[in-house]
């Protein structure tokens, strides 16, 4: 059975005369015990999708079921089987970690004793025992996120929604968070995760759905997507702008490169990986083209978008969308 199923989800935010179509027909299916990564830039519709599935928001059209329950009609039953951890750490910063978890446990209708035991368990599991009796205000960003995630797990949910769980964390915090999430998935929890980072979807998700302007524009395993995008890239920054044309001819005689005149950068797909990088350096040297930088880099969200849509991930427009959403909240 599919743990999550949506069909033609539409959400339109209206403010004044303007309309923002945050979701424009989203179809999703997540099998029990698997991880789906919803990948897209800000404002693509990731958060809106999660909010509808977590019963915080009603869709304007379409249908969604979670664990076989309709999110609009059986909202309260849905809430019993899900856990939500959002982009902004939703814990009470004036309560201690232990108190926060105890409170959530009580609100999941655990007895006071059970809530206390569950809190202890989670504090240990998330490495927060030492900080358990400090108010959450004093926690680092990574600790807060872990506490937030622990809060989502108090009720032992069958389904977990994580909305950008590592946005704003430093690299160490991010890796720590990944470990914790992987542990949860090993225990069999179905997970829907949103992220802006291809790398993160790659590390955590069984399947990735790419979202843009409220639509799913591609889905598949991480390998399938990368094959579509064309794997790694070689980037060359030439020293003299006059050499750009020759550099393009040297790197990709048959075309297929992109070239940025401003940054004097030429990018080309590297199907042969590191060996190809060595060849490129040799050819550039033979052509006597001076370079400032040469390197191999993994495809990013931008490459995915460039390949799939022909446009870059539009950060600025996305933020506008977010504002529109906030305005309507008032």
């Amino acid at each position: 059975m599919a743990a999550i199923e949506t069909e033609g989800l539409v959400k339109v935010y209206r403010s004044g005369g303007s309309e923002v179509r945050a979701l424009d027909g989203v179809d999703l299916e997540v099998q029990e015990g698997t991880v789906l990564g919803l990948l897209g830039p800000n404002g693509a519709g990731k958060t809106t999708t999660v909010r509808i599935l977590a019963t915080l928001l009603r869709a304007d059209a379409g249908r969604a079921t979670v664990a076989g329950l309709d999110v609009a009609r059986d909202a309260q039953a849905v809430r019993k089987v899900i856990g939500l951890s959002g982009q902004y750490a939703a814990v009470d910063e004036n309560l201690t970690g232990r108190e926060n978890l105890w409170m959530f446990g009580r609100l999941y209708r655990l007895s006071s004793g059970d809530a206390r035991r569950r809190a202890d368990e989670l504090l240990e599991q998330f490495g927060l025992e030492d900080a358990a009796d400090r108010v959450a205000k004093t926690y680092s960003g990574g600790m807060r996120r872990r506490l937030d995630l622990a809060g989502a797990l108090v009720g032992r949910p069958q389904l977990l929604f994580l909305d950008e769980p590592t946005t704003g964390l430093d690299p160490r915090g991010r890796l720590g968070m990944w470990d914790v999430i992987r542990g949860q998935v090993r225990e069999g929890t179905t997970l829907l995760l949103t992220t802006q980072y291809l790398e993160e979807a790659d590390a955590l998700a069984d399947e990735i759905a790419v979202v843009d302007h409220g639509r799913i524009i591609a889905r598949g395993t991480s390998d399938q997507l990368k094959a579509q995008v064309g794997g790694e890239r070689i980037e060359v920054v030439v020293r003299h702008p006059d050499d750009l044309r020759r550099a393009v001819a040297t790197l990709a005689p048959d075309g297929g490169s992109t070239c940025d005149r401003h940054t004097r950068r030429v990018t080309v797909a590297a199907l042969g990986g590191a060996q190809e990088l060595v060849d490129v350096v040799r050819r550039l040297d033979e052509a006597r083209i001076e370079v400032d930088d040469v390197g191999l880099r993994r495809p990013t969200l931008d490459d995915v978008f460039l390949t799939l849509t022909g446009h870059a991930a539009e950060e600025a427009e996305g933020e506008e969308d977010d504002d529109a959403v906030e305005e309507l909240a008032a």
């Binding site: 909010r51 977590a54 915080l56 750490a89 959530f104 609100l107 999941y108 209708r109 009720g155």
Partner: protein
């Protein structure tokens, strides 16, 4: 458990959370008390001498019930700020994603506010005794006055909850709260006898719920309470204050619940 018992249990958990926070943000209580004491000093010692009471009596005894009611009214701004803060921090989203009773977030908040403000009231009454305020009525009347004030706090908390849910930011909650509560407390008999007001403001002040509350508590404490001789609201202050408190609660609590249910962000 029945749905009602669950709602009560959830409400208690939320109330526990709101009370637990109070000693950890001591500046909230300290500023609330300091602000009230500042008003006491301002009116009792600075303006008080220039405010003669029709029919005589101690201005300080006249003033203190006004200070109590004013403080309880201003507390609704703190409620509004707390609500707006919970919304912005995502805590309300968390609560809304839990299988808890929908009413509990609001009932827990407002009942915790009653407990918190009862504490503030004790401190203020002690300061009142220091500056010369005295209770002359019976014990029964005293208890009734306290009960009335706590009911008023509860009502004001619901108004604060609604304000907090209507605005976008903590700053807006503060501004909107001030805009509503400031005229409510100052165009009343809290600080000056209604007879001294210009005729345009007189009827407003006479029927103002704050005036009703202040008059009723003055009467119950046995403090001086001059009002215009033919004033129906002045003569029926106790009845009027119950009508106001319950009436406002009956209007604003459902509005706040409706607003909470329709939150969509």
């Amino acid at each position: 458990m029945s749905a009602f018992a669950e709602a009560v249990s959830d409400g208690r958990v939320v109330a526990w959370r709101n009370l637990k926070r109070i000693p950890r943000i001591p500046e909230l209580a300290i500023f609330a008390i300091l602000q009230s004491i500042m008003f006491v000093v301002l009116f009792a010692f600075v303006f008080g001498g220039a405010i003669p009471l029709p029919g005589g009596g101690s201005y300080k005894e006249y003033l203190m019930p006004g200070i109590y009611i004013q403080t309880l009214a201003f507390a609704s701004i703190t409620t509004a700020i707390g609500m707006a803060d919970d919304m912005n921090k995502g805590l309300i989203d968390r609560f809304r994603s839990l299988p808890m009773a929908r009413s509990a977030v609001l009932s827990g908040r407002t009942s915790a506010d009653v407990v918190y403000n009862a504490g503030i009231l004790v401190v203020l009454m002690l300061s009142g005794l220091v500056v010369g305020w005295r209770v002359h009525g019976t014990v029964g009347d005293f208890v009734l006055a306290i009960l009335l004030m706590l009911m008023f706090t509860f009502t004001m908390a619901w108004i604060g909850v609604l304000l907090g849910l209507l605005v976008k930011t903590v700053e807006n909650a503060q501004q909107l709260g001030f805009l509503v509560i400031f005229p409510l407390t100052f165009v009343s008999s809290a600080f000056v006898p209604i007879e001294t007001l210009p005729s345009v403001l007189k009827p407003i002040a006479e029927w103002n719920p704050v005036s009703a509350l202040v008059s009723a508590t003055r009467d119950l404490f046995g403090n001086p309470n001059p009002y215009p001789s033919d004033s129906w609201p002045g003569e029926h202050a106790l009845l009027l204050s119950f009508v106001w408190t319950i009436g406002l609660l009956a209007v604003f609590a459902p509005l706040a619940v409706r607003r909470y249910r329709s939150i969509e962000r």
